[in-house]
């Protein structure tokens, strides 16, 4: 039913929230693993850091930031709906507001993360 039902924006908002949540959980597992490497195998840990600093690694970090940002913003939307049920009449507008903030914060953020791997000027010029 999940793929057969043509839900609206509310269902999309929920699906993205779930996908972003699972992605963040997987990253936390990865992060625990690489921090563990710092003590267990410092040489390998340094190699992992170079992967993170490469272009694919930085694109991955930008996607991670996107998942984190969406999950946080939509989470605030859900909290607002929980506290003030009357806002449910405006849930679509709230979701659109989430996307506005997502792009306003996310695009410069993604640039700052990816720029060093492309030799583009970052925060430090």
């Amino acid at each position: 039913m999940l793929l057969r039902y043509r839900g609206g924006a509310g269902m999309l908002a929920w699906a993205f929230h779930r996908i972003a949540g699972v992605a963040l959980f997987l990253f936390i597992l990865l992060h625990v693993l690489d921090i563990w490497l710092a003590a267990a195998n410092p040489g390998l840990y340094d190699e992992v850091l170079t992967v993170y600093a490469s272009l694919p690694g930085r694109i991955g970090e930008a996607l991670l930031g996107a998942a984190l940002l969406y999950h946080a913003l939509n989470g605030l939307r859900i909290i607002a709906l929980d506290f003030w049920p009357r806002l449910t009449r405006y849930h679509l507008q709230l979701w659109y507001a989430c996307w506005v903030v997502f792009f306003v914060v996310g695009i410069p953020g993604a640039y700052l993360i990816i720029a060093p791997a492309l030799g583009l000027p970052g925060l430090k010029g």
């Binding site: 839900g7 269902m11 929920w14 709906l81 929980d82 506290f83």
Partner: protein, 232 residues
């Protein structure tokens, strides 16, 4: 114009699994999907099975999955859907035959929330009076027709069939916030259960599916707040 009507057919006595069958039906833009189903049943295939009663969006018996969304066949018009229309039974319920599902589980959940006025005070000589403001508090949820379009559009219900579901919570809301009723605490206790309001994931499918335009998610969240308020 000609409409291609795809219907998910299933006869448990003949079919191993549900399968799609397509019927070419002549229809006008203002025809309801229910008209098309009648055309198929009356002129093409008399074995087609579906529920309908009032045919005017009041009895709630012909909720179906139409072009991927739960709607009442008697309300949705051909012009709103186009020339290709697919119809399947509402999801998450056992299919009895074709578009007919077993609603017993749905009504069992409905009965769980005590959907009737409870007031043991002596019956007054005239009606139990209520202010306009008190009536407005639950006006939205009085309009539910128990068609199950909301419950069967809910991903939480698909994943967990024991979830009471939006329709039962809407019915509970109608009495919880009725100033004449005295059993709100009992209903809140029932809805605070593992299969109660906490299963709502605010996907708003119930709101878009409701043929009566009830703010179902808003009602669920109001009940949730009432449960939380009991403990604060």
């Amino acid at each position: 114009m000609q409409v291609d009507l795809r219907i998910l057919r299933y006869d448990p006595e003949r079919d191993a699994a549900p399968h799609w069958e397509t019927y070419a039906v002549e229809a006008g833009p203002m025809d309801r999907v229910l008209n098309l189903l009648h055309t198929v049943k009356n002129t093409m295939d008399g074995t087609l099975t579906f529920r309908r009663s009032c045919a005017h969006g009041i009895c709630g018996s012909d909720a179906m999955l139409i072009n991927g969304r739960n709607r009442l066949a008697c309300k949705i018009r051909v012009e709103q859907l186009g020339r290709r229309i697919s119809i399947a039974p509402i999801g998450g319920m056992p299919v009895v035959k074709d578009l007919v599902v077993d609603m017993e589980g749905f009504f069992a959940k409905y009965r769980t929330v005590m959907p009737f006025l409870v007031n043991d005070a002596p019956v007054p000589e005239r009606e139990r009076r209520q202010s306009v403001a008190d009536r407005e508090r639950f006006d939205d949820t009085t309009r539910c027709i128990l068609c199950a379009a909301c419950t069967t559009s809910c991903p939480s219900f698909w994943a967990r069939p024991t979830y009471l579901g939006p329709a039962a919570i809407v019915q509970a809301h109608r009495f919880i916030f009725d100033s004449r009723d005295t059993a709100a605490e009992d209903r809140l206790e029932i809805l605070a259960d593992d299969d109660g309001v906490w299963r709502c994931r605010t996907t708003f499918n119930c709101v878009t599916a409701c043929p009566r335009e009830i703010n179902v998610t808003g009602a669920i969240l109001e009940v949730t707040r009432a449960i939380v308020a009991r403990h604060s």
